[in-house]
Symmetry: C2
Subunit: 439 residues, 2 copies
């Protein structure tokens, strides 16, 4: 224990699963955490909406309050676990401007108002910690912020939303349709009553915004993240992916890319269902687990894997940040600000070339392959592989075959043009699916 | 850029592969690293043994010196990349006592003299960084030290030596014997001319000592690490492992265990060839790659994966530490010391129960299985699985069969007793191999 031993006052805002877990562990492990911090940690209170509500983890009544402002006043460290934009934003600004360090797991708030919060912290020399905001206990913020601070990160790909990974995994494993898999996920508590934020990719897009900003030293607001959810992924697409040795995952992809229109380097941040080979390490991220792949110039490829959600897991990341904040208080001095000096431009997602897999139902007759091939070549989209299923009879119609075509890198504009032409071709019955390919 | 912008003077000790890479990158990326640090970084010199020697990466002549002491005098940050115990130890102590922060990749030195160095840093409020000492650019020191600082780490398993992983992988993939695989590794530069430190497990044991000390807040010197190398691993054992669905890896294992003799919690740190199931994520760590698995109470299981060696990879980790040190200098105040407050006892490796796989050649006659089974049960070792190969003729001898037996958890003492009895049994021709099992 250090000689300059002192008590640091910790306020927790939010008494939900994570908030209650954090408070409980602060109480139970006060001595151990104090030894690791070099300062005593005193939980001064937990701000909740309703002090009489039942909680998953029991907390002493006298620590509960419905007045967060009163807690912030006397706190050295404020832990915001309420979620949502307001009143979280106002309370965090209040805490930072009082000089307290703030810890948050609020990805929505960081993606929407990150720069405002970081500026508020810098102004008074306080620090904002947010390891829990992405992939729960998997350390990814600190590795990007500190361990790779001397390297040049070129790409991040992440499975950062457990709910969608669970749903896609169930579709892949059991052959379920999207609706069935969603129902199963809801029943098991993997999906919320209103699953929009997860299945439409908003949650993953928030995390992509945070990772991109951090890795590329550039503010990447949520509005600069291209987002597609998984509601359009069909059992047939999953089946086609399987046949071609792939699996579909919802990926957050953050990349340095050259903007084709300007020739300058920019940042491309996007969330979309993506085909990856079954041999890719990501294919092993099953169920609600998360995985993050980071590629840096000198470090090469790195992979981080673990549980990306859950009360104890998120609490672990929050407590790590509390110890970091406490150590910083012992040392004194201003916090280390977020750096956005690179300030790279956003690359138009339509101009970022990616590979695609396209599934078509076509008339089974001679010359069809040539017709399809010429549509691709006319649009300037190069075909990498093509596979044709054995012909089958469509109910009450002509005999058809299924074509699965994988392209080399193509821009979204060229690809859209191709898909449009395919859809209007008389030999094409249906464009059954278009999915991007990585790995 | 911050207003309190200043130039920090960086000295690099050692001009080998990593030292030259670090120096080159400091020169080439000075502006970028400065922006990330909030302080300018000025490379004041590189101390080398012979200033006229040829280097893999070219450096300005005027930066080279064979007098490390002269560099240390004026440095804010000293980067030790000479390796070996001396003069590295003396120079680091000299740098720390002058108040400079020190960055080192020297695992041997940390495993032998870690506490002495950490004490010297604490005395003057300087900080010692060592992310590059374990698994190169894979962030593992910072995640353990900071991200998991609020959690309770229970176990670490690591493939932390690329050379032995390469050799074992070649044996597994190509069916090579140990000597052949070692020769191939030497030819390709994966093994050094004197491979002792790698193949006898000394390098992995040094890393295990560092990980165990950090994770369990307890000084675990190298002498407390149980160490077995891979020189005894035979092609036949690899083959037997394959048949039972396993692969052999050299693992560094750091665990909290209850000492059976005292009933108290202690630390068990060991390095030995280990069977793991082919379905285990570690089985995918091929070639010279590294992987580290961490299990913590709240965070659950986490996996870190990437290149565990190499000039650019190690330089990446060192540069991350340089930026951290520079940010700390901008902030001011004393460094955060290493915590050894838990001070857990060492658990006698003979008392740590593990599972074992034992391969035997036995006479093929009725009653042999019963004889073998009774030897196990008499020693109190419980058999989990047993498989018998089809009988084969030994050259000029009786017909024999191969038995592969996997046990439940057993202490080393009980296991040794069993092996001794097996070896002296008239029905056993040979105890072909004994390997521990994890996962």
């Amino acid at each position: 224990m250090r000689e300059n031993y002192r008590k640091l006052r910790v306020a927790v805002l939010g008494g939900g699963t994570v908030g209650a877990q954090v408070a409980r562990r602060l109480l139970d492990n006060a001595d151990e955490l104090g030894s690791r911090s070099g300062a005593g940690l005193e939980l001064i209170g937990v701000a909740v909406r309703d002090v009489s509500a039942r909680r998953s983890v029991s907390l002493p009544k006298k620590l509960l309050t419905d007045d967060p402002h009163s807690l912030i006043v006397g706190a050295d460290i404020v832990v915001e676990l309420m979620g949502g934009l307001e009143p979280a934003r106002t309370l965090i600004l209040e805490a930072l401007s009082s000089g307290a360090d703030v810890i948050t797991a609020n990805k929505a708030l960081l993606a929407e108002h990150g720069p405002e919060l970081f500026d508020a912290a810098a102004k008074v020399g306080a620090q904002l910690y947010y390891e829990a905001a992405v992939a729960a206990a998997i350390p990814i913020i600190r590795p990007l912020r500190d361990s790779l601070a001397g390297d040049h990160v070129t790409k991040i790909m992440g499975i950062v939303n457990g709910t969608t990974n669970y749903i896609l995994d169930e579709m892949d494993t059991l052959g379920l349709g999207f609706e069935e898999a969603l129902a199963a996920a809801t029943e098991l508590g993997y999906a919320e009553a209103d699953p929009t934020a997860d299945i439409e990719g908003y949650d993953a897009a928030q995390k992509a915004s945070i990772l991109s900003s951090l890795a590329f030293h550039t503010a990447v607001p949520l509005s600069d993240v291209h987002r597609e959810g998984i509601t359009g992924v069909s059992a047939a697409q999953i089946e086609a992916a399987k046949r071609s040795g792939h699996v579909i995952k919802l990926l957050a992809i953050c990349e340095r890319r050259i903007d084709a229109s300007t020739g300058t380097e920019g940042v491309s941040t996007r969330v979309h269902p993506t085909l990856i080979p079954r041999s890719h390490p990501f294919a092993a991220a099953r169920g609600a687990n998360n995985a993050v792949y980071v590629e840096a110039e000198a470090a090469g490829p790195l992979m981080f894997y673990g549980a990306g959600a859950g009360g104890p897991e998120t609490a672990s990341a929050v407590l790590g940040d509390i110890v970091s904040a406490a150590r910083r208080h012992v040392v004194g001095g201003p916090g280390v600000g977020e750096s956005t000096h690179a300030d790279l431009p956003v690359v138009d997602p339509g101009l970022v070339p990616t590979r695609y897999q396209i599934s078509l139902t076509v008339t089974d007759q001679p010359g069809v392959l040539a017709t399809i091939a010429s549509i691709f070549s006319e649009a300037g989209v190069s075909v990498e592989t093509l596979s044709q299923s054995t012909p089958h009879d469509e109910a009450g119609a002509a005999q058809t075959a299924t074509l699965v075509i994988q392209t080399h890198q193509a821009s979204e504009a060229d690809l859209s043009q191709t898909v449009e032409k395919l859809a209007s071709s008389p030999v094409v019955h249906q464009v059954a699916g278009v999915v991007r390919v990585e790995g």
